[in-house]
């Protein structure tokens, strides 16, 4: 029984940290909006998605407290994200080649 410590130590996150994360998120939002004005061809969507991923990383780790959770939670979310990635990429095996 590796994960049987039901009343784990409580993490109280400072308000200050939340405000910092919030400001970063706003900054990234600004970046993504201003970058979208520049025409970078196919890279536009890549950059938009990278910035969105960075923002989600902040939300997951700080707002959703993933950094304070057990390793099991991190494995879980990797499994979920990898599954989704597999669904997308295998679907594109069909679409991105000559049909």
């Amino acid at each position: 029984m590796s994960d049987h410590h039901s009343q784990e130590n409580v993490h109280v996150v400072d308000y200050g940290k939340y405000i910092f994360v919030w400001l970063s998120l706003l900054a990234f939002t600004g970046i993504t909006v201003s970058v979208s004005g520049i025409n970078l061809g196919n890279w536009t969507v890549v950059i938009a998605l990278v910035i969105a991923s960075v923002k989600s990383w902040y939300v997951l780790n700080y707002f959703m407290h993933l950094r304070h959770e057990d390793i099991v939670f991190k494995i879980f979310i990797s499994v979920a994200l990898i599954t989704l990635a597999i669904f997308v990429s295998l679907t594109f095996l069909d679409y991105s080649f000559v049909r």
């Binding site: 784990e8 536009t44 707002f63 669904f87």
Partner: protein
């Protein structure tokens, strides 16, 4: 039949509750993931038309809504800290602020949709059916995806209202706050999804 009312399932497992919540969030994630697959495939097939159609969305409203949701996510997260510190009133007001932000988001959404519908762009409209296939698909997905997201906003608000009641009655308190944590987790997911919806629909230039 002797019906002894047992105290069935006595022990509390906050860790387990959060684990269950995360698993549920994965299903929500994949639910939207299915839509993102549809979006990706159609955008790949109709790049030009997606670009053209996206010009018609109002980036300012989209950005405003992004900021609103990010801020509400922060207040939701802060409400947990407040409760952990024993500051129930402050925690409750933070939740109320979160709900108000959610309301503002919905009002913006309402104006945005009505403007589109006013211009005759809605599923099955004459104006839309005349357009190229890619644009029909773009607006179809726009309505479905932002619509489903809006539905999640409403659900999130409902959950927060319940949590407020629980805080009032004391079921959720300084030592037992996993319900608030789970409500906030749900709300952050709503935020997360919007983080992707925003660039994918509003920022294709």
């Amino acid at each position: 039949m002797s019906s002894t009312a047992h105290t069935h399932v006595a022990h509390r497992d906050d860790y387990g509750s959060r684990m269950g919540m995360w698993l549920f969030l994965f299903t929500e994630l994949i639910l939207f993931g299915g839509l993102f697959i549809v979006y990706a495939v159609y955008r790949y097939m109709h790049q030009q038309e997606f670009h053209l159609a996206a010009q018609e969305l109002n980036t300012t409203i989209g950005m405003l809504n992004t900021i609103i949701l990010l801020t509400s996510s922060m207040t939701a997260a802060m409400s947990i800290t407040a409760l952990q510190k024993g500051n129930v009133r402050f925690s409750m007001s933070l939740i109320v602020v979160t709900i108000l932000f959610a309301g503002t988001f919905m009002v913006n959404k309402f104006f945005e949709w009505s403007a589109k519908i006013h211009h005759g762009i809605y599923p099955g409209s004459k104006e839309l059916v005349m357009r190229p296939e890619g644009e029909i698909l773009y607006f179809g997905l726009y309505y479905v995806m932002t619509g489903l997201h809006a539905l999640h906003v409403i659900v999130g608000v409902t959950i927060f209202v319940f949590v407020l009641v629980f805080m009032k009655t004391g079921t959720v308190n300084q030592t037992a706050y996993v319900k608030l944590e789970n409500a906030a987790l749900y709300w952050h997911l709503v935020d997360l999804i919007w983080i992707f919806l925003f660039p994918l629909f509003y920022l294709i230039h």
